[in-house]
């Protein structure tokens, strides 16, 4: 499938997720999925409208985010991780969410207004071609999104560009433990469901390192394969990548 066709399919799927509340996870409840991924009750109950159950880990819980930081969320969806980050950076910091799906950005912006966040901003953008200035961000977060990007090398290169010296990136994403069949690779539902666009675990880690980052693995969850992905050999990986 061509890159542009993948992006179109992803946009269509996540527009539906934003407007109808459907998710990629076989009908489980959003709250239950989020709890299984490491979100605590008080975090998800504080922002119910922003939790669509579309993550695959909790990069915020494992990530070091300090007061005053500028945080960038790649694929911000309805805004849950941005709002959790916003509480950590305080009003001296700033959080920017980038997403390519208009309906998600609209929902996130409404949510920010509802929850009263003045230091969280959302913009339409492509995570492989970020509209963010060089060396302007302290922390990048991303939850189960990069697998959907056709050009992951561009995503990591651009992430490296926008981070400040010693900047940190915390990613949760789906990675494969075995190669998929060619039928699985071209299955649109598996692409938008975070499976077919995923890379093999080691290739994914090497790609981040090749972009210039020092990589530490923070968590690996293989149980997610059975819980949400019909036992396809994959896992959710949470990593910290530092710009030296």
């Amino acid at each position: 499938m061509k890159d542009e066709d993948v992006k179109r399919a992803v946009k269509r799927h996540y527009t539906q997720a934003a407007t109808k509340g459907t998710c990629c996870c076989g009908g489980a409840k959003d709250e239950d999925i989020s709890k299984a991924l490491g979100y605590v009750e008080k975090d998800i109950s504080a922002f119910p409208e922003a939790n669509l159950g579309l993550g695959c880990g909790n990069p915020i819980a494992l990530g070091r985010i300090r007061e005053g930081d500028v945080v960038l969320d790649l694929g911000s969806g309805a805004g849950l991780d941005c709002f959790l980050a916003a509480r950590k950076v305080g009003t001296t910091g700033h959080v920017i969410g980038v997403d390519m799906t208009e309906a998600m950005i609209e929902k996130a912006r409404k949510n920010a207004a509802t929850y009263g966040f003045k230091h969280v901003e959302f913009r339409l953008g492509d995570i492989g071609q970020l509209p963010v200035d060089n060396a302007s961000v302290d922390v990048i977060i991303s939850n189960c999104v990069i697998n959907l990007a056709p050009d992951k090398k561009a995503v990591f290169a651009d992430a490296y560009r926008v981070l400040k010296h010693k900047g940190r990136m915390f990613i949760s994403d789906i990675v494969l433990l075995k190669e998929l069949t060619s039928e699985q690779r071209n299955d649109v539902d598996l692409i938008t469901g975070c499976v077919s666009g995923a890379m093999l675990r080691d290739e994914y880690l090497n790609l981040i390192k090749d972009a210039g980052f020092a990589v530490t693995i923070l968590a690996e969850n293989t149980a997610i394969s059975k819980q949400q992905y019909q036992s396809i050999p994959l896992e959710s990986l949470t990593v910290e990548a530092t710009k030296p």
Binding site: E106, R109, E121, R123, G125, D126, L130, P131, D133, N134
Partner: protein
């Protein structure tokens, strides 16, 4: 979007600076207007407070 985040923004294509044009503003929040890149000769719209900084397909 807010004016103070302008210094975090750049053109998604050439990474050059963007020039802000405001059509309507409320309490420091830009509701509509545009961001233009003089290098790429492209205008990115701000609609209902949201800047559309997706790279233009022709760009």
């Amino acid at each position: 979007m807010k004016k103070k985040v302008m210094d975090l923004l750049c053109c998604p294509v050439c990474k050059g600076p963007l020039v802000l044009h405001v059509d309507s503003e409320e309490k420091g929040e830009i509701l509509s207007g545009s961001l233009s890149c003089s290098h790429c000769k492209v205008r990115y719209a701000i609609t209902e407070g949201i800047p559309d900084l997706l790279p233009h397909e022709s760009a």
